[in-house]
Symmetry: C2
Subunit: 141 residues, 2 copies
Amino acid sequence: MSKNCRFAVAVHVASVLALNGEAPCTSEWIAGSVNTNPVVIRRILSALAKAGLVTSIRGSAGGSVLARRPETITLLEIAQAVDEDGGPALHHQKPNPLCTVGRGIQPVLAGIIQRAEAAREAVLGQTLLSEVIHAIQVEAG
Amino acid sequence: MSKNCRFAVAVHVASVLALNGEAPCTSEWIAGSVNTNPVVIRRILSALAKAGLVTSIRGSAGGSVLARRPETITLLEIAQAVDEDGGPALHHQKPNPLCTVGRGIQPVLAGIIQRAEAAREAVLGQTLLSEVIHAIQVEAG
DNA sequence: GAAACCGTAACCGTTACGATTACAAGGAGA
DNA sequence: TCTCCTTGTAATCGTAACGGTTACGGTTTC
């Protein structure tokens, strides 16, 4: 599956924003919580803003705030905002059409992979950011 | 998700082997159907053999055959044989434990990702290689 | 012994990622 | 207006993974 941690960072960012409420968070402060570089956070924030999940305020005393209530944001929206790549890849080269398998496998596999991804996304689509925040608070004590 | 096409190639390889029945297939012949290098196929075959799905015969007139009937092989077994990487990644660095989110997010996210992956794997676990072969034959005409 | 085949190590070019630096643009306050 | 502070984005670097390829040793058949 995906080898990047953008989804994990994006949920982390959204959780920090949600816990801060109306107060804008700077990318530097969020980076301190995620333990990475502020530019990495800004790239994530940019993707979340394009998806309408986050609003960024430029200038001094600026920062980012959640654009919607945590009860209305699913993890699927966050995942789709930062992870444009959809599902496992098919063949690099086109299979040999002279072979029965080579001729017919690609649409069959595409359908199966799509169904598997849909099942995975259903779980993310049913998980709300507010639930994640609650679980984090329970976990962190 | 995963950016490699090993799963697609592995299903392709297994389908070719299944359609050839008892007759061993050489890696070069399979490579001709997949349209890639024989060594790439041998690497996939090696992983499938370690999972007990394929038997390889060395020496002249050698090749590979399916070790089990296609009705008893699920796509999940094939995926796990060639894709050791499990699910999306968490953070690169450990989050800051001084932050509530940093302290609690990792186990929460791990649980959610695991549930999402389980849903995806359930679909693959219910799909049999024999069904794939049938669909390929219908598709290829 | 020769030929055919598997198994694997080694290497190359490409691609993607996270991290970092640098800089332009925007906005608040002195 | 001037000065910070912040976002936004481009450019670059090092690393890691992947597919493709060559090479070579081991194995089996003829």
